[in-house]
Amino acid sequence: MKAKVNEECIGCGLCVSIAEDVFRMNDEGLAEAYGEVTEENKEAVLEAADSCPVAAIEIE
């Protein structure tokens, strides 16, 4: 499973607060996926995708 943040991101940081080992804020103040999705963090990543206010997290 892979996570990707698309151009809809509003930079709210919610995904980072839910799954910080997969998402981080970049220099433009927007979220990006940088970490691997693992069995341990999978649930948090799905929760982050579900919680994203603009549905900017794509799970492949």
Binding site: E8, C9, I10, G11, C12, G13, L14, S17, I18, E28, G29, L30, D50, S51, P53, V54
Partner: protein, 516 residues
């Protein structure tokens, strides 16, 4: 990122700064935020036009409705907000609307104080609205909405605005007292009750929000129809009111606090009625079973209008059929039931026991741990804090923040439960009454009591309650999970220096400090 909106009224605010993109963290689209600003600007225009006149009851009601509409997670619908703006213009005549961009771009301390006033009266409007629905109004409260709105539109300085900020707290105390009177005179005095988290098999309806009258009307319309009713979130304390709990089909509570709704409502075999906030943008998997009423609205979601014919909700419950077997649900700590109904009347009926327990040392400290719940992971602070409270302390709680710990059994002291749920957020009035009564019994001030306030905030009702506590001179409040983005550094310094407000740190450290 191009700035498409400006909103920083809730605790989730993007980057603890402001939501400025295509949508807010609450899910509100930028165009909806713009319409909400226009509505607020129109209300300020109306307040200016009304200045020095005697506004009619319908003018006050429109102002209250307009302010409540802009509270976080209430209304996401451009159409209904536009309609409200038209109604405001229809009575404000040719008055020019206030441009909210003037506020957002002004000096940060002035903006901060005007924001405290605006968000405070938005929260207070919710309470005034609920009281109004039960036929209760207060002239002073109504007049203050106009005064405060006008103040936001006027030129102002830190010195001229600070008294109005604290006056929001003063008037909100009256407004919460009004709602307390409306609720208790209409539905009786709340008494402690244990509420199961078990959903019985068969058709059911989940009722969310704060509006007791909507719940009552739905209970009446579902009587003898084979449909059970379950409260959700802030509706939980309804079980404690005699005139509501008399309905045998008001069975229990479904789910936890608002921020878990996307998980908890996913695939729910029952409709959900939202009477107030907090509505989150519904997922496709359950949007067909969400209903709104009063000022709550979301595009594409069925709305029950003022005629209050809940037939579509009832039919949806029958169509979906509920669970085929009884389903035991759990609180976030694994509990199977919760308690509520420890309003000021219930607690003060044991005043002598409480006073004696304090004098004998059986009770050494009281904590008020409550406020809004929310999505941030750091909010487990409140669960951990309550778990760590000493066994010779009482924990009072209120509002939906309690779902972090209200399914835990903390035991008893002298026959009194250690954890007592005072009620909804507006029942902060009840907690204040308890504090005042205890202070009187011990001949001291509320600040001299062994009572600590550990509060969580999310939306604007928490703002008006915080201002009420400040108006009462309550000091050393711990506030979290983060401080409001709309409080500028200078204003924060003022609050720290004069009221000792501090952000939460860790449960261990805060407990140690508060018990010193």
């Amino acid at each position: 990122m191009e700035n498409k909106m400006f909103c920083y009224q809730c605790e989730q605010t993007a980057g603890c700064s402001a939501c400025v993109g295509s949508a807010g963290v609450c899910g509100k689209k930028s165009d909806t935020a713009t319409f909400q600003d226009k509505l607020t600007g129109a209300l300020i225009g109306l307040a200016r036009a009304s200045y020095g006149t005697a506004p009619t009851d319908s003018t006050y009601r429109l102002i209250i409705e307009g302010l409540f509409t802009t509270v976080t997670n209430v209304n996401f619908n451009d159409e209904t907000i536009t309609e409200l703006i038209k109604r405001v213009h229809a009575i404000s005549g040719g008055t020019v609307d206030y441009d909210m961009n003037e506020l957002w771009k002004t000096d940060e301390d002035v903006r901060s104080l005007k924001s405290l006033i605006l968000f405070g009266i938005r929260g207070m409007a919710a309470y005034a609205y609920h009281a109004l629905m039960l036929g209760y109004e207060d002239k002073e409260v109504n007049e203050f909405f106009c005064e405060a709105l006008k103040k936001i539109g006027d030129e102002g300085t830190v010195e001229t605005l600070l008294p109005t900020v604290l006056k929001v707290g003063e008037v909100n105390l009256k407004c919460m007292a009004l709602l307390d009177k409306a609720n208790t005179q209409t539905y009786g005095t709340p008494t402690p009750v244990t509420v199961p988290l078990l959903v019985e098999k068969g058709p059911f309806i989940v009722v969310s929000g704060h509006d007791l009258k909507d719940l009552e009307l739905l209970l009446k319309q579902t009587e003898n129809k084979g449909i059970n009713i379950y409260t959700h979130g802030e509706m939980l304390p309804a079980h404690a009111y005699p005139e509501l709990k008399k309905y045998a089909h008001l069975k229990g509570n479904f789910g936890t606090a608002w921020q878990n709704q996307k998980k908890e409502f996913d695939g729910l075999p029952a409709p959900i009625l939202f009477t107030t906030n907090c509505l989150m943008p519904p997922k496709d998997s359950y949007i067909d079973r969400v209903f709104t009423t009063e000022v709550v609205s979301f595009p594409g979601v069925s709305h029950i209008d003022d005629e209050k014919d809940f037939t579509p909700v009832i039919n949806k419950a029958l169509e979906l059929g509920g669970y085929s077997e009884d389903k035991q649900l759990f609180g976030i700590n694994g509990g199977k039931e919760v308690t509520t109904g420890f309003g000021h009347a219930a607690i003060l009926s044991h005043a002598e026991t409480v006073v004696e327990a304090v004098k004998s040392g059986a009770i050494k400290h009281f904590f008020l741990v409550g406020g809004c719940d929310g999505a941030k992971p750091g909010r487990n602070y409140y669960t951990d804090f309550v778990k760590l409270t000493p066994k010779d302390s009482i924990v009072l709680t209120l509002a939906c923040g309690k779902f972090r710990f209200n399914d835990m059994d903390l035991g008893e002291i002298g026959g009194l439960p250690r954890l007592m749920d005072v009620g909804q957020c507006n029942d902060a009035y009840g907690a204040i009454q308890v504090a005042v009564a205890l202070a009187n019994a011990f001949g001291c001030t509320a600040n001299d009591l062994p009572l600590s306030y550990v509060l969580s905030w999310y939306e604007q009702k928490a703002v008006c309650i915080l201002l009420t506590l400040l108006h009462l001179g309550i000091k050393n409040i711990r506030l979290g999970p983060s401080l409001p983005a709309f409080v500028s550094p200078n204003i924060l310094n003022f609050l720290v220096e004069n009221f000792g407000i501090a952000p939460i740190s860790t449960p261990e450290k805060d407990l140690e400090d508060l018990l010193k």
